[in-house]
């Protein structure tokens, strides 16, 4: 089956294309992109007038919980959430049970992804065995098995020497290293951002410097060793400043932030609602402003939602005992569209941060609508206001503070390898 998308606004940051055109998909690849294309025989034609046609969105930071915590999420339910949220591909973090620190786990995740047959799943392998921060995993073997990057996400690599060796060894293999920046000695026992609200709520705080210090340290290590590094879920004004200065002097550092860090502040915690409990924690209004500035000026390359699905039992407990995280795949695009409304990002910038940039950072194929490219396409209706209904999430994790939120638009068509994996064109 071939597909002809008629009359959409084609946005392809890989070629700086932004214009109303048709897009023809044949045999799973982009066949043509131009005005007034004719449908060859056996072609499904879809009118996408007024909609945005983008390279398939990629979320480079999700937790799929399988193996080990299938009650929270499986590869299949996570992939279903991904395509419903407009993502044709996601990269999943290794903090499963057991940890993805060996070839067999990576292969297992890929097998599950194949069985699900929805979004592309790119496993990220652990930096250290068991994510214990001591012994390196077999980077080359993991890469050969299909891992696209390395991270101990959920935890930082606290040992500076291990981080140095990891960056050096991974660089030689072309593997990206992603750091979760948190100085554990400063964050110990912390439940939320340290500031006025932690003071009045009587909860142990996580100071912003816990993030800034490790971001700064690892930027220095990358600079010294001449390697690349990617900083995960940036939440502080300090880390944005450190990144901006590092990029200015040519350090090969990239960074991502998540929608909750440009949408919510620590003031949200005043009701002890565990849906707002995330790590890094929600910060202040000044931090939110700095994150938006970082997105606008390119300091922050990527929007990735840190999809962290949890079961009710993980969240319906005292705040102190509740798990960290937001089930984010199905609201990430809608929340990010607000950045366009607010004038923070242009359309091409937003699309680049959600497709081309993560693809480049992880060395993934294309993220392009050029003829010959694999037909991973997301069609977005920017003017389809909807209200977030947690019960309607495809993800098993209904843990989101955005239930009931009005969002401006959403993905209406998610196409992976030329096949429609999610079609919300008709729904309203």
């Amino acid at each position: 089956m071939n597909l002809l998308l008629k009359g959409g606004r084609i946005l392809d940051p890989s070629r700086n294309i932004d214009g109303v055109m048709d897009l023809l998909v044949k045999n799973g690849t982009i066949a043509a992109c131009g005005p007034d294309l004719q449908a060859p025989p056996e072609t499904q034609t879809l009118d996408v007038g007024g909609l945005i046609v983008s390279p398939g969105l990629i979320d480079m930071h999700v937790h799929l919980r399988e193996p080990g915590q299938e009650y929270k999420e499986t590869v299949a339910t996570g992939a279903a959430a991904a395509v419903a949220g407009g993502f044709t591909a996601v990269a999943c973090m290794p903090n499963t049970l057991p940890v993805n620190d060996t070839r067999s786990i990576t292969e297992f995740i890929l097998r599950r992804a194949g069985e699900a047959g929805l979004a592309r799943i790119y496993p990220i392998a652990a930096v250290s065995l068991g994510q214990e921060g001591r012994q390196m995993t077999e980077f080359a073997d993991l890469k050969d098995a299909g891992a696209v990057a390395l991270s101990d996400d959920g935890k930082p690599v606290m040992d500076a020497a291990l981080m140095r060796r990891t960056l050096e060894y991974a660089e030689s293999l072309g593997l990206t290293v992603i750091q979760h920046c948190e100085d554990l000695s400063l964050s110990a026992g912390g439940l939320m951002h340290e500031g006025y609200y932690s003071t009045i709520l009587g909860m142990r705080g996580i100071p912003a410097i816990a993030e800034d210090i490790i971001a700064n340290r690892d930027i220095l290590i990358a600079e010294y060793s001449g390697t690349r590094i990617h900083i995960a879920h940036v939440s502080t004004a300090g880390a944005v400043r450190i990144l901006r200065e590092a990029k200015k002097r040519g350090v090969r550092v990239t960074a991502e932030t998540a929608p909750h860090y440009f949408t919510l502040t620590d003031e949200s915690l005043t009701g002890y609602n565990t849906a707002f409990k995330v790590n890094p924690p929600l910060r202040t209004a000044e931090d939110v402003a700095a994150i938006k500035e970082g997105l606008a000026d390119g300091t922050l390359d990527v929007i990735a939602c840190d999809h962290a699905p949890h079961a009710r039992t993980d969240k319906e407990v005292e705040f102190e005992y509740a798990s960290n995280g937001i089930s984010g795949l199905e609201t990430s695009l809608g929340l990010s569209l607000k950045l366009i409304e607010d004038g923070v990002l242009s359309w091409p910038d937003l699309i680049a941060k959600m497709s081309l940039n993560p693809a480049r950072i992880l060395n993934l194929p294309s993220a392009s609508l050029a003829p010959g490219a694999c037909a991973d396409i997301t069609v977005i209706d920017p003017n389809r206001p909807w209200t977030v209904d947690l019960k309607a999430f495809r993800s098993r994790g209904k843990n989101s503070p955005f239930g009931g939120c009005a969002l401006p638009g959403r993905a209406v068509l998610t196409i992976v390898g030329g096949e429609i994996k999610y079609n919300g064109l008709a729904s309203q």
Partner: protein, 309 residues
């Protein structure tokens, strides 16, 4: 105001000045019951009150129990260990089970800040926060205010100094909210390591020297120091803490000549307060606080049960 319309008492942050007045006046009227030969009135006969304590407590639990009994309520004490949280029933399940037995009020003490707020949103019973982590301890602040009013005749306009571990103190937070609402001038002092960030935004002046806080104070309230804080490097040693922050004859001279000394207990004698200060009934009102605690808790139980209807 003659009636409390709130379902729960979760913290001083959400009590109005009128509500605080009502509680204090009700408590004052109950004070006399505890001095009778037969210390019991039938007011809450047929009501059941569960004291659900997830943290060790002698004073507060006993105080709530006696308060309930003096009003003829049936009081049931449940001491749960927070370690059971890991393997046992969740707080929510425990609460739902208790709810099914249809008590009237649940008094909750819990080490996790916000635990009473979680319960209050789930069960139809009234919840009284008897201390949640480092967050609030409203009945303590109310008994402190009752004691200040009793000794000073007023709260508005007084300078009140809170000294010690402000960071981890629910007593400090509840008192800061309550005393500020009642028009007092609140100052706090303690080691910089135990002074929470942005504390000034709560409407207090903060100092690191005890002397700066207690100068010209009408009330000096000393807070308990948890000995295990030393292991977290929040202060170097008890010896040095006592040298710098213990209330003694010398530094107490800086306060007003008629100043009173308070402590929520239990006291680490010689660490927070020198024994001769703590035991001097000329200015120490520590035991009056305990006596007033029963009256304040009687007032809370009474008002939450629909008292003054």
């Amino acid at each position: 105001m003659t009636k409390l319309t709130k379902k729960d008492i979760l913290g001083m942050a959400d009590l109005t000045v009128d509500e605080i007045h009502l509680i204090l006046e009700t408590a004052e009227s109950f004070l006399e019951i505890s001095t009778r030969d037969i210390k019991k009135v039938p007011t809450l006969r047929g009501k059941s009150i569960i004291n659900l304590f997830y943290e060790a407590s002698t004073r507060t639990r006993t105080s709530f129990e006696i308060a309930g009994k003096r009003l003829s309520a049936d009081t049931i004490n449940i001491s749960a260990s927070t370690s059971s949280v890991v393997k046992g029933e969740t707080l929510i399940d425990t609460a739902r089970n208790l709810e099914a037995m249809n008590p009237d009020i649940i008094v909750l003490r819990h080490s996790a800040a916000g635990a009473p707020h979680l319960l209050a949103g789930l069960v139809r019973q009234s919840i009284i926060n008897a201390g949640d982590g480092a967050h609030e301890h409203p009945s303590q602040a109310l008994l402190d205010m009752m004691t200040i009013r009793e000794k000073k005749g007023r709260i508005a306009g007084l300078k009140i100094a809170l000294v010690g571990d402000i960071q981890h103190s629910r007593v400090a937070r509840s008192n800061i909210y309550g005393l500020n609402k009642m028009g007092a001038r609140v100052v706090v002092a303690g080691p910089a390591t135990m002074m929470p960030r942005d504390i000034e935004k709560m409407g207090v002046e903060a100092f690191t020297r005890i002397e700066d806080a207690i100068v010209d104070a009408d009330v000096v309230m000393m807070l308990r120091i948890q000995l295990e804080r030393q292991k977290q490097n929040l202060f170097p040693s008890l010896r040095e803490y006592a040298q710098r922050y213990c209330l003694n004859r010398t530094n107490f001279k800086l306060a007003k000549s008629d100043a009173i000394v308070m402590h929520p207990g239990p006291i680490n004698r010689g660490v927070e307060i020198s024994p001769d200060i703590a035991d001097d009934s000329g200015f120490s009102v520590i035991l009056d606080q305990v006596a007033n605690g029963v009256a304040v808790r009687m007032a809370l139980l009474y008002l939450l049960s629909g008292g003054n209807e």
